[in-house]
Protein backbone atom coordinates (compact mmCIF):
# COMPACT_ATOMS: atom_id res chain seq x y z
CA UNK A 1 0.00 0.00 0.00
CA UNK A 2 1.29 3.47 -0.79
CA UNK A 3 1.99 6.06 1.88
CA UNK A 4 -0.82 8.21 0.54
CA UNK A 5 -3.27 5.37 0.98
CA UNK A 6 -1.96 4.21 4.32
CA UNK A 7 -1.50 7.59 5.99
CA UNK A 8 -3.67 9.91 3.93
CA UNK A 9 -4.63 12.24 6.79
CA UNK A 10 -1.08 12.62 8.01
CA UNK A 11 0.26 13.17 4.49
CA UNK A 12 -2.29 15.93 3.94
CA UNK A 13 -1.43 17.54 7.28
CA UNK A 14 2.27 17.54 6.38
CA UNK A 15 1.62 19.25 3.05
CA UNK A 16 -0.68 21.78 4.73
CA UNK A 17 2.07 22.71 7.20
CA UNK A 18 4.61 23.94 4.65
CA UNK A 19 4.31 26.67 2.06
CA UNK A 20 7.01 24.98 0.03
CA UNK A 21 6.20 21.43 -1.01
CA UNK A 22 9.75 20.14 -0.84
CA UNK A 23 9.98 20.98 2.87
CA UNK A 24 7.67 18.03 3.43
CA UNK A 25 10.38 15.54 2.53
CA UNK A 26 11.73 14.97 6.06
CA UNK A 27 8.39 14.37 7.80
CA UNK A 28 7.35 12.13 4.88
CA UNK A 29 10.50 10.06 5.28
CA UNK A 30 9.73 9.55 8.96
CA UNK A 31 6.28 8.37 7.98
CA UNK A 32 7.78 5.99 5.43
CA UNK A 33 10.00 4.55 8.14
CA UNK A 34 7.21 4.04 10.66
CA UNK A 35 6.32 0.47 9.91
CA UNK A 36 9.44 -1.35 8.83
CA UNK A 37 12.08 0.84 10.46
CA UNK A 38 13.61 1.76 7.11
CA UNK A 39 12.63 3.57 3.92
CA UNK A 40 11.90 1.22 1.04
CA UNK A 41 12.77 1.98 -2.60
CA UNK A 42 9.04 2.13 -3.35
CA UNK A 43 8.49 4.78 -0.65
CA UNK A 44 11.40 6.85 -1.96
CA UNK A 45 9.89 6.77 -5.43
CA UNK A 46 6.46 7.70 -4.11
CA UNK A 47 7.83 10.62 -2.08
CA UNK A 48 9.82 11.80 -5.10
CA UNK A 49 6.68 11.75 -7.18
CA UNK A 50 4.67 13.66 -4.58
CA UNK A 51 7.36 16.35 -4.35
CA UNK A 52 8.15 16.36 -8.07
CA UNK A 53 11.83 15.68 -7.54
CA UNK A 54 14.10 12.82 -8.59
CA UNK A 55 14.12 9.59 -6.58
CA UNK A 56 17.91 9.95 -6.40
CA UNK A 57 17.47 13.20 -4.53
CA UNK A 58 15.22 11.56 -1.98
CA UNK A 59 17.74 8.73 -1.63
CA UNK A 60 20.53 11.27 -1.08
CA UNK A 61 18.54 12.76 1.80
CA UNK A 62 18.02 9.33 3.33
CA UNK A 63 21.77 8.75 3.05
CA UNK A 64 22.71 12.12 4.51
CA UNK A 65 20.80 12.05 7.79
CA UNK A 66 21.67 9.41 10.39
CA UNK A 67 18.13 8.79 11.60
CA UNK A 68 16.93 7.56 8.21
CA UNK A 69 17.80 4.05 7.12
CA UNK A 70 17.56 2.25 3.82
CA UNK A 71 18.17 -1.22 5.21
CA UNK A 72 16.27 -3.39 7.60
CA UNK A 73 17.72 -3.86 11.07
CA UNK A 74 16.40 -5.09 14.41
CA UNK A 75 12.98 -3.96 15.56
CA UNK A 76 14.77 -1.56 17.90
CA UNK A 77 17.98 0.28 17.16
CA UNK A 78 19.78 0.82 20.45
CA UNK A 79 21.97 3.83 19.69
CA UNK A 80 24.56 4.30 22.39
CA UNK A 81 26.43 7.59 22.56
CA UNK A 82 30.16 6.98 22.84
CA UNK A 83 31.31 10.54 22.18
CA UNK A 84 33.89 12.23 24.36
CA UNK A 85 31.69 13.50 27.24
CA UNK A 86 29.88 10.15 27.55
CA UNK A 87 33.14 8.22 27.13
CA UNK A 88 34.67 10.19 30.02
CA UNK A 89 31.84 8.74 32.09
CA UNK A 90 32.35 5.15 31.01
CA UNK A 91 30.29 4.86 27.81
CA UNK A 92 32.89 2.70 26.04
CA UNK A 93 32.89 0.13 28.82
CA UNK A 94 29.10 0.25 28.96
CA UNK A 95 28.84 -0.40 25.22
CA UNK A 96 31.37 -3.23 25.32
CA UNK A 97 29.70 -4.98 28.22
CA UNK A 98 26.24 -4.44 26.75
CA UNK A 99 27.37 -6.09 23.52
CA UNK A 100 28.79 -9.05 25.48
CA UNK A 101 25.49 -9.47 27.31
CA UNK A 102 23.50 -9.35 24.10
CA UNK A 103 25.97 -11.57 22.26
CA UNK A 104 26.52 -9.12 19.41
CA UNK A 105 29.17 -6.73 18.11
CA UNK A 106 28.46 -3.04 17.49
CA UNK A 107 26.35 -2.83 14.33
CA UNK A 108 24.93 -6.34 14.73
CA UNK A 109 21.41 -7.50 15.56
CA UNK A 110 20.43 -10.01 18.23
CA UNK A 111 19.51 -13.42 16.80
CA UNK A 112 15.82 -12.91 17.59
CA UNK A 113 15.83 -9.75 15.44
CA UNK A 114 14.86 -7.55 18.36
CA UNK A 115 17.79 -5.20 18.96
CA UNK A 116 20.52 -3.75 16.75
CA UNK A 117 23.28 -2.12 18.79
CA UNK A 118 24.81 0.99 17.26
CA UNK A 119 27.41 3.49 18.40
CA UNK A 120 26.27 7.02 17.59
CA UNK A 121 27.34 10.64 17.93
CA UNK A 122 26.41 13.05 20.74
CA UNK A 123 22.73 12.98 21.77
CA UNK A 124 22.75 15.99 24.15
CA UNK A 125 22.54 13.79 27.24
CA UNK A 126 26.18 14.19 28.33
CA UNK A 127 25.43 14.70 32.03
CA UNK A 128 23.35 11.52 32.14
CA UNK A 129 25.84 9.07 30.61
CA UNK A 130 25.88 6.20 29.96
CA UNK A 131 22.86 6.81 27.79
CA UNK A 132 21.30 5.69 24.54
CA UNK A 133 18.27 6.28 22.42
CA UNK A 134 15.97 3.58 21.20
CA UNK A 135 14.79 4.08 17.66
CA UNK A 136 11.74 2.13 16.56
CA UNK A 137 10.12 3.06 13.25
CA UNK A 138 9.63 6.82 13.38
CA UNK A 139 9.94 7.03 17.19
CA UNK A 140 12.96 7.74 19.36
CA UNK A 141 13.07 7.54 23.14
CA UNK A 142 15.89 8.46 25.50
CA UNK A 143 17.27 6.19 28.20
CA UNK A 144 19.69 7.94 30.51
CA UNK A 145 21.86 7.15 33.53
CA UNK A 146 21.82 3.54 32.37
CA UNK A 147 23.59 0.47 33.67
CA UNK A 148 24.02 -2.77 31.76
CA UNK A 149 21.65 -4.53 34.19
CA UNK A 150 18.90 -1.97 33.69
CA UNK A 151 19.39 -2.12 29.94
CA UNK A 152 19.07 -5.90 29.95
CA UNK A 153 15.84 -5.55 31.96
CA UNK A 154 14.59 -3.14 29.31
CA UNK A 155 15.46 -5.63 26.57
CA UNK A 156 13.55 -8.35 28.41
CA UNK A 157 10.56 -6.01 28.72
CA UNK A 158 10.67 -5.23 24.99
CA UNK A 159 10.84 -8.93 24.26
CA UNK A 160 7.82 -9.63 26.46
CA UNK A 161 5.86 -6.73 24.96
CA UNK A 162 6.56 -8.03 21.46
CA UNK A 163 5.19 -11.47 22.36
CA UNK A 164 2.01 -10.01 23.81
CA UNK A 165 1.26 -8.14 20.61
CA UNK A 166 1.72 -11.28 18.54
Amino acid sequence: MSLKEKYSEEVNAIFAKYENKRSAVMPLLYLAQREGGYVTKESMAEIAEMLEIETTEVASIVGFYSLYHDEKAGKYRMQVCADLPCALRGADKFLESLCQNLGVKVGETTSDGLVTVESVMCLAGCDKAPMFQLQEGDRVTYHENMTVDRTMELVEALKAAGKEVK
Partner: protein, 419 residues
Protein backbone atom coordinates in the same frame (compact mmCIF):
# COMPACT_ATOMS: atom_id res chain seq x y z
CA UNK B 1 20.62 33.58 42.92
CA UNK B 2 17.33 33.83 41.06
CA UNK B 3 17.26 31.91 37.78
CA UNK B 4 16.23 33.81 34.66
CA UNK B 5 16.54 30.98 32.12
CA UNK B 6 16.43 27.74 34.12
CA UNK B 7 13.44 29.19 35.91
CA UNK B 8 11.99 25.76 36.70
CA UNK B 9 14.67 25.51 39.39
CA UNK B 10 12.82 28.27 41.30
CA UNK B 11 9.26 27.56 40.14
CA UNK B 12 8.97 23.85 39.47
CA UNK B 13 5.79 23.94 37.39
CA UNK B 14 6.64 26.98 35.27
CA UNK B 15 5.88 24.67 32.31
CA UNK B 16 2.19 24.94 33.23
CA UNK B 17 0.78 27.78 31.16
CA UNK B 18 -1.34 29.10 34.04
CA UNK B 19 1.59 29.13 36.45
CA UNK B 20 3.67 30.81 33.76
CA UNK B 21 1.00 33.50 33.37
CA UNK B 22 0.71 33.99 37.14
CA UNK B 23 4.43 34.69 37.13
CA UNK B 24 4.30 37.42 34.52
CA UNK B 25 4.18 35.13 31.50
CA UNK B 26 3.40 36.73 28.10
CA UNK B 27 3.41 40.23 29.66
CA UNK B 28 6.57 41.12 27.75
CA UNK B 29 5.06 39.95 24.49
CA UNK B 30 1.88 41.90 25.22
CA UNK B 31 3.90 44.99 26.12
CA UNK B 32 5.96 44.71 22.91
CA UNK B 33 3.05 44.07 20.58
CA UNK B 34 0.67 46.63 22.10
CA UNK B 35 2.86 49.57 23.10
CA UNK B 36 6.28 49.17 21.47
CA UNK B 37 7.34 49.59 17.86
CA UNK B 38 9.37 46.64 16.47
CA UNK B 39 12.38 48.95 16.20
CA UNK B 40 12.11 49.77 19.92
CA UNK B 41 12.34 46.06 20.77
CA UNK B 42 15.43 45.74 18.58
CA UNK B 43 16.96 48.83 20.15
CA UNK B 44 16.37 47.50 23.65
CA UNK B 45 17.98 44.15 22.80
CA UNK B 46 20.88 45.95 21.13
CA UNK B 47 21.35 48.12 24.23
CA UNK B 48 21.26 45.06 26.50
CA UNK B 49 24.43 43.76 24.85
CA UNK B 50 22.92 40.27 24.55
CA UNK B 51 25.25 38.09 22.48
CA UNK B 52 24.26 34.91 20.65
CA UNK B 53 24.42 31.91 22.96
CA UNK B 54 24.79 29.29 20.25
CA UNK B 55 28.55 29.68 20.15
CA UNK B 56 29.53 32.62 17.96
CA UNK B 57 28.64 35.32 20.52
CA UNK B 58 27.46 37.79 17.90
CA UNK B 59 25.35 40.70 19.26
CA UNK B 60 21.71 39.67 18.81
CA UNK B 61 20.15 43.10 18.23
CA UNK B 62 22.80 43.93 15.64
CA UNK B 63 22.05 40.68 13.81
CA UNK B 64 18.37 41.64 13.61
CA UNK B 65 19.16 45.07 12.19
CA UNK B 66 20.77 43.52 9.09
CA UNK B 67 17.36 42.57 7.67
CA UNK B 68 16.44 44.81 4.73
CA UNK B 69 13.16 46.65 4.98
CA UNK B 70 12.31 46.41 1.30
CA UNK B 71 12.21 42.62 0.94
CA UNK B 72 9.37 40.65 2.56
CA UNK B 73 8.36 38.38 4.20
CA UNK B 74 10.91 38.10 6.99
CA UNK B 75 11.42 34.85 8.86
CA UNK B 76 12.71 33.97 12.29
CA UNK B 77 14.27 30.55 12.65
CA UNK B 78 15.24 29.21 16.03
CA UNK B 79 18.26 26.96 16.02
CA UNK B 80 17.39 24.09 18.36
CA UNK B 81 19.70 21.60 16.68
CA UNK B 82 21.89 21.35 19.80
CA UNK B 83 24.43 18.71 18.75
CA UNK B 84 27.84 19.85 19.99
CA UNK B 85 29.34 17.10 22.17
CA UNK B 86 29.06 18.50 25.69
CA UNK B 87 26.04 20.75 25.07
CA UNK B 88 22.65 19.94 26.59
CA UNK B 89 21.32 23.29 27.78
CA UNK B 90 18.72 24.09 25.10
CA UNK B 91 17.08 20.75 25.70
CA UNK B 92 16.58 21.53 29.41
CA UNK B 93 15.23 25.02 28.64
CA UNK B 94 12.70 23.67 26.13
CA UNK B 95 11.70 20.71 28.27
CA UNK B 96 11.30 22.60 31.53
CA UNK B 97 10.66 26.28 30.70
CA UNK B 98 8.98 26.05 27.28
CA UNK B 99 6.70 29.08 27.45
CA UNK B 100 9.46 31.57 28.22
CA UNK B 101 11.39 30.15 25.28
CA UNK B 102 8.36 30.40 22.96
CA UNK B 103 7.61 33.92 24.19
CA UNK B 104 11.20 34.75 23.27
CA UNK B 105 10.72 33.36 19.75
CA UNK B 106 7.55 35.44 19.44
CA UNK B 107 9.36 38.61 20.59
CA UNK B 108 12.09 38.09 17.99
CA UNK B 109 9.42 37.61 15.32
CA UNK B 110 7.70 40.84 16.32
CA UNK B 111 11.00 42.75 16.39
CA UNK B 112 11.86 41.84 12.80
CA UNK B 113 8.30 41.90 11.48
CA UNK B 114 8.00 38.17 10.86
CA UNK B 115 4.57 36.55 10.82
CA UNK B 116 6.05 33.09 10.79
CA UNK B 117 8.70 31.52 12.97
CA UNK B 118 10.33 28.11 12.63
CA UNK B 119 11.89 26.08 15.41
CA UNK B 120 14.40 23.61 13.96
CA UNK B 121 14.95 20.71 16.35
CA UNK B 122 17.48 17.94 15.98
CA UNK B 123 15.74 14.69 15.02
CA UNK B 124 16.55 13.05 18.34
CA UNK B 125 14.41 15.71 20.07
CA UNK B 126 11.15 14.18 18.84
CA UNK B 127 9.77 14.31 22.39
CA UNK B 128 10.65 18.02 22.57
CA UNK B 129 8.89 18.67 19.26
CA UNK B 130 5.73 16.97 20.44
CA UNK B 131 5.88 18.88 23.69
CA UNK B 132 6.46 22.26 22.02
CA UNK B 133 3.62 21.61 19.55
CA UNK B 134 1.34 21.09 22.53
CA UNK B 135 2.62 24.30 24.19
CA UNK B 136 2.15 26.26 20.95
CA UNK B 137 -1.46 25.01 20.85
CA UNK B 138 -1.99 26.21 24.42
CA UNK B 139 -0.54 29.62 23.59
CA UNK B 140 -2.83 29.92 20.58
CA UNK B 141 -5.82 29.09 22.79
CA UNK B 142 -4.63 31.69 25.32
CA UNK B 143 -4.29 34.38 22.65
CA UNK B 144 -0.50 34.59 22.94
CA UNK B 145 -0.01 33.30 19.38
CA UNK B 146 -2.19 33.32 16.30
CA UNK B 147 -4.31 35.99 14.63
CA UNK B 148 -4.61 39.59 15.85
CA UNK B 149 -2.42 39.29 18.91
CA UNK B 150 -3.65 41.21 21.94
CA UNK B 151 -6.20 43.05 19.82
CA UNK B 152 -3.65 44.42 17.35
CA UNK B 153 -3.31 43.60 13.65
CA UNK B 154 -0.21 41.48 14.26
CA UNK B 155 -0.48 37.77 13.32
CA UNK B 156 2.06 35.18 14.30
CA UNK B 157 2.38 31.48 13.63
CA UNK B 158 5.13 29.24 15.05
CA UNK B 159 6.05 25.87 13.55
CA UNK B 160 8.43 23.16 14.63
CA UNK B 161 10.55 21.26 12.13
CA UNK B 162 12.37 18.07 12.97
CA UNK B 163 15.83 17.29 11.59
CA UNK B 164 17.08 13.72 11.33
CA UNK B 165 20.52 13.49 12.89
CA UNK B 166 23.18 15.75 11.39
CA UNK B 167 25.49 17.97 13.46
CA UNK B 168 26.07 20.20 10.45
CA UNK B 169 22.46 21.38 10.56
CA UNK B 170 23.41 23.52 13.55
CA UNK B 171 25.32 25.62 11.01
CA UNK B 172 22.76 28.22 10.06
CA UNK B 173 22.77 27.94 6.30
CA UNK B 174 22.80 24.13 6.43
CA UNK B 175 19.84 24.39 8.78
CA UNK B 176 17.95 26.46 6.21
CA UNK B 177 18.73 23.92 3.51
CA UNK B 178 17.35 21.23 5.78
CA UNK B 179 14.05 23.07 6.36
CA UNK B 180 13.82 23.50 2.59
CA UNK B 181 13.94 19.72 2.26
CA UNK B 182 17.53 19.28 1.12
CA UNK B 183 20.67 17.68 2.46
CA UNK B 184 22.03 19.92 5.21
CA UNK B 185 25.05 21.38 3.48
CA UNK B 186 26.20 24.95 4.15
CA UNK B 187 25.63 27.65 1.53
CA UNK B 188 28.26 29.91 0.09
CA UNK B 189 28.17 33.33 1.77
CA UNK B 190 27.54 36.11 0.83
CA UNK B 191 24.65 36.48 0.47
CA UNK B 192 24.01 36.12 4.21
CA UNK B 193 20.73 34.71 5.58
CA UNK B 194 19.78 38.18 6.83
CA UNK B 195 19.23 39.06 3.17
CA UNK B 196 18.77 35.71 1.40
CA UNK B 197 17.66 33.16 3.97
CA UNK B 198 14.78 30.72 4.27
CA UNK B 199 13.00 30.31 0.91
CA UNK B 200 15.26 33.11 -0.34
CA UNK B 201 13.83 35.67 2.09
CA UNK B 202 15.49 37.74 4.86
CA UNK B 203 15.91 35.49 7.88
CA UNK B 204 17.13 35.81 11.45
CA UNK B 205 18.52 32.65 13.03
CA UNK B 206 18.91 32.63 16.81
CA UNK B 207 19.73 29.96 19.37
CA UNK B 208 17.20 28.70 21.95
CA UNK B 209 19.00 30.19 24.95
CA UNK B 210 19.46 33.55 23.22
CA UNK B 211 15.73 33.82 22.60
CA UNK B 212 14.84 32.71 26.13
CA UNK B 213 16.63 35.83 27.43
CA UNK B 214 14.27 38.17 25.56
CA UNK B 215 11.17 38.22 27.82
CA UNK B 216 13.27 39.44 30.75
CA UNK B 217 15.11 42.03 28.65
CA UNK B 218 11.83 43.47 27.36
CA UNK B 219 10.26 43.38 30.82
CA UNK B 220 13.10 44.80 32.87
CA UNK B 221 15.07 46.72 30.27
CA UNK B 222 18.60 46.79 28.90
CA UNK B 223 20.05 48.66 31.88
CA UNK B 224 18.88 45.93 34.25
CA UNK B 225 20.30 43.21 31.98
CA UNK B 226 23.65 44.91 32.00
CA UNK B 227 23.86 44.64 35.78
CA UNK B 228 24.43 40.91 35.18
CA UNK B 229 27.64 39.50 33.74
CA UNK B 230 30.54 41.64 32.56
CA UNK B 231 30.72 44.83 30.53
CA UNK B 232 31.56 43.10 27.25
CA UNK B 233 29.63 39.91 28.00
CA UNK B 234 26.47 40.99 29.81
CA UNK B 235 23.89 38.64 31.23
CA UNK B 236 23.63 35.08 32.41
CA UNK B 237 24.71 31.92 30.62
CA UNK B 238 23.62 28.35 30.98
CA UNK B 239 26.80 26.33 31.20
CA UNK B 240 26.67 22.61 30.42
CA UNK B 241 29.23 20.91 32.60
CA UNK B 242 30.23 17.35 31.68
CA UNK B 243 33.05 14.82 31.79
CA UNK B 244 35.05 14.07 34.93
CA UNK B 245 33.16 16.07 37.55
CA UNK B 246 31.11 14.92 40.52
CA UNK B 247 28.00 16.85 39.58
CA UNK B 248 27.64 17.25 35.82
CA UNK B 249 24.65 19.26 34.63
CA UNK B 250 23.46 22.69 33.54
CA UNK B 251 24.32 25.68 35.67
CA UNK B 252 22.95 29.15 35.02
CA UNK B 253 25.66 31.58 36.07
CA UNK B 254 26.57 35.15 35.32
CA UNK B 255 29.03 35.52 32.49
CA UNK B 256 32.41 36.07 34.08
CA UNK B 257 32.03 33.36 36.73
CA UNK B 258 35.37 31.61 37.19
CA UNK B 259 36.19 28.05 36.17
CA UNK B 260 36.98 27.41 39.85
CA UNK B 261 33.46 28.29 40.97
CA UNK B 262 31.91 26.23 38.17
CA UNK B 263 34.02 23.13 38.68
CA UNK B 264 34.52 23.08 42.44
CA UNK B 265 31.52 24.93 43.92
CA UNK B 266 28.78 23.87 41.51
CA UNK B 267 30.31 20.79 39.92
CA UNK B 268 31.50 19.34 43.23
CA UNK B 269 35.10 18.85 42.06
CA UNK B 270 36.79 15.91 40.36
CA UNK B 271 35.90 12.31 41.30
CA UNK B 272 38.31 9.82 42.88
CA UNK B 273 40.75 12.50 44.05
CA UNK B 274 41.99 13.00 40.50
CA UNK B 275 43.35 16.25 39.05
CA UNK B 276 42.04 18.28 36.13
CA UNK B 277 44.28 17.77 33.13
CA UNK B 278 42.38 19.54 30.37
CA UNK B 279 39.31 21.70 29.88
CA UNK B 280 37.33 22.00 26.68
CA UNK B 281 35.11 25.06 27.28
CA UNK B 282 33.20 24.90 23.99
CA UNK B 283 32.64 21.19 23.60
CA UNK B 284 34.46 19.01 21.09
CA UNK B 285 35.14 22.10 18.95
CA UNK B 286 37.45 23.69 21.51
CA UNK B 287 41.14 24.03 21.83
CA UNK B 288 42.03 22.07 24.95
CA UNK B 289 43.23 24.23 27.85
CA UNK B 290 46.15 22.61 29.63
CA UNK B 291 45.86 22.45 33.40
CA UNK B 292 48.88 21.40 35.48
CA UNK B 293 50.43 22.52 38.76
CA UNK B 294 51.97 25.59 37.15
CA UNK B 295 48.85 26.77 35.32
CA UNK B 296 46.15 25.58 37.74
CA UNK B 297 45.44 28.87 39.54
CA UNK B 298 45.60 31.00 36.40
CA UNK B 299 43.10 28.78 34.61
CA UNK B 300 40.78 28.34 37.60
CA UNK B 301 40.65 32.07 38.27
CA UNK B 302 39.83 32.90 34.65
CA UNK B 303 36.38 34.44 34.30
CA UNK B 304 34.23 32.58 31.80
CA UNK B 305 33.31 35.25 29.31
CA UNK B 306 33.96 35.60 25.59
CA UNK B 307 37.18 37.63 26.01
CA UNK B 308 38.91 35.98 28.95
CA UNK B 309 38.55 32.40 27.76
CA UNK B 310 40.16 33.49 24.51
CA UNK B 311 43.04 34.93 26.50
CA UNK B 312 43.92 31.48 27.86
CA UNK B 313 43.94 29.95 24.40
CA UNK B 314 40.45 28.69 23.78
CA UNK B 315 36.88 29.93 23.20
CA UNK B 316 33.77 30.10 25.36
CA UNK B 317 31.52 29.14 22.44
CA UNK B 318 28.26 27.67 23.69
CA UNK B 319 29.86 27.13 27.15
CA UNK B 320 29.80 23.35 27.07
CA UNK B 321 32.59 22.72 29.51
CA UNK B 322 34.09 19.22 29.28
CA UNK B 323 36.46 18.31 32.12
CA UNK B 324 39.19 15.75 31.38
CA UNK B 325 41.02 14.29 34.37
CA UNK B 326 44.59 13.03 34.53
CA UNK B 327 43.65 9.39 33.95
CA UNK B 328 43.22 10.14 30.24
CA UNK B 329 45.77 10.69 27.50
CA UNK B 330 45.20 13.26 24.82
CA UNK B 331 45.71 10.85 21.92
CA UNK B 332 42.57 9.10 23.18
CA UNK B 333 40.73 12.43 23.50
CA UNK B 334 41.46 13.55 19.94
CA UNK B 335 40.68 10.07 18.65
CA UNK B 336 37.18 10.70 20.02
CA UNK B 337 36.82 14.23 18.64
CA UNK B 338 38.18 13.43 15.18
CA UNK B 339 35.94 10.38 15.00
CA UNK B 340 33.01 12.71 15.64
CA UNK B 341 33.97 15.31 13.04
CA UNK B 342 34.83 12.72 10.42
CA UNK B 343 31.31 11.34 10.84
CA UNK B 344 29.69 14.79 10.82
CA UNK B 345 31.58 16.43 7.95
CA UNK B 346 28.88 17.08 5.36
CA UNK B 347 31.22 16.28 2.50
CA UNK B 348 30.87 19.52 0.60
CA UNK B 349 34.38 20.94 1.08
CA UNK B 350 37.31 18.71 0.20
CA UNK B 351 39.68 19.89 2.98
CA UNK B 352 37.12 18.99 5.67
CA UNK B 353 35.84 15.78 4.09
CA UNK B 354 39.22 14.32 3.17
CA UNK B 355 41.16 16.04 5.94
CA UNK B 356 39.06 14.43 8.62
CA UNK B 357 39.36 11.04 6.93
CA UNK B 358 43.14 11.32 7.04
CA UNK B 359 43.26 12.82 10.50
CA UNK B 360 41.25 9.88 11.81
CA UNK B 361 43.55 7.45 10.05
CA UNK B 362 46.64 8.96 11.62
CA UNK B 363 45.11 9.52 15.06
CA UNK B 364 43.95 5.92 15.25
CA UNK B 365 47.38 4.69 14.22
CA UNK B 366 48.98 6.76 16.97
CA UNK B 367 46.40 5.76 19.56
CA UNK B 368 46.90 2.08 18.79
CA UNK B 369 50.63 2.46 19.29
CA UNK B 370 51.66 2.03 15.65
CA UNK B 371 52.48 5.68 14.99
CA UNK B 372 55.85 7.35 14.46
CA UNK B 373 57.24 10.86 15.02
CA UNK B 374 56.56 11.46 11.32
CA UNK B 375 52.87 10.83 11.94
CA UNK B 376 52.81 13.66 14.48
CA UNK B 377 54.22 16.07 11.93
CA UNK B 378 51.85 14.77 9.28
CA UNK B 379 48.84 15.14 11.60
CA UNK B 380 49.77 18.71 12.37
CA UNK B 381 50.18 19.44 8.70
CA UNK B 382 46.80 17.94 7.74
CA UNK B 383 45.10 19.95 10.51
CA UNK B 384 46.72 23.11 9.17
CA UNK B 385 45.47 22.34 5.69
CA UNK B 386 41.89 21.95 6.90
CA UNK B 387 41.81 25.00 9.14
CA UNK B 388 40.48 28.13 7.45
CA UNK B 389 39.91 26.44 4.10
CA UNK B 390 36.24 25.48 4.25
CA UNK B 391 32.86 27.13 3.68
CA UNK B 392 31.74 26.78 7.27
CA UNK B 393 33.34 26.47 10.68
CA UNK B 394 33.05 22.68 11.00
CA UNK B 395 36.40 22.19 9.29
CA UNK B 396 38.07 24.64 11.67
CA UNK B 397 36.36 23.07 14.67
CA UNK B 398 37.65 19.63 13.74
CA UNK B 399 41.24 20.82 14.03
CA UNK B 400 41.02 22.71 17.33
CA UNK B 401 41.43 19.76 19.69
CA UNK B 402 44.02 18.12 17.41
CA UNK B 403 46.32 21.12 17.04
CA UNK B 404 46.05 22.18 20.67
CA UNK B 405 46.60 18.65 22.00
CA UNK B 406 49.75 18.21 19.89
CA UNK B 407 51.09 21.58 20.94
CA UNK B 408 50.14 21.59 24.62
CA UNK B 409 50.42 17.92 25.60
CA UNK B 410 53.43 16.71 23.56
CA UNK B 411 54.41 14.17 26.27
CA UNK B 412 51.19 12.20 25.72
CA UNK B 413 52.09 11.69 22.08
CA UNK B 414 55.82 11.22 22.46
CA UNK B 415 55.29 8.25 24.75
CA UNK B 416 52.90 6.66 22.24
CA UNK B 417 54.96 6.86 19.07
CA UNK B 418 58.11 5.13 17.92
CA UNK B 419 61.13 7.32 17.29
Amino acid sequence: MEHFLLRHLDIADINDINIYKQNGGFESLKKAVTIMQPQQVTDEVKASGLRGRGGAGFPTGVKWSFLPNNIWPHYVVCNADESEPGTFKDREIMERNPFQFLEGVALACYAVGANEGYIYLRGEFLHVQEYLDKCIGEMEAAGALGEKLFGTSYNLKLKTHLGAGAYICGEETALLESIEGKRGQPRVRPPFPAVVGLYGKPTVINNVETLTNLPFIVEKGAAWYRTLGTEKSPGVKVISLSGNVNKPGNYELQLGTTFRELIYTHGGGIPDGRKVKGIMPAGASSSIIRVDDSTFDTVMDTPMDYENVQNIGSLLGSASVIIIDDSHDMDWVINKTVHFFKHESCGKCTPCRDGNYWMLNIVERIHEGHGSQKDLTLLKSVANQVNGKCLCALGDFSTMAVSSALERFPEDFDKKVKA
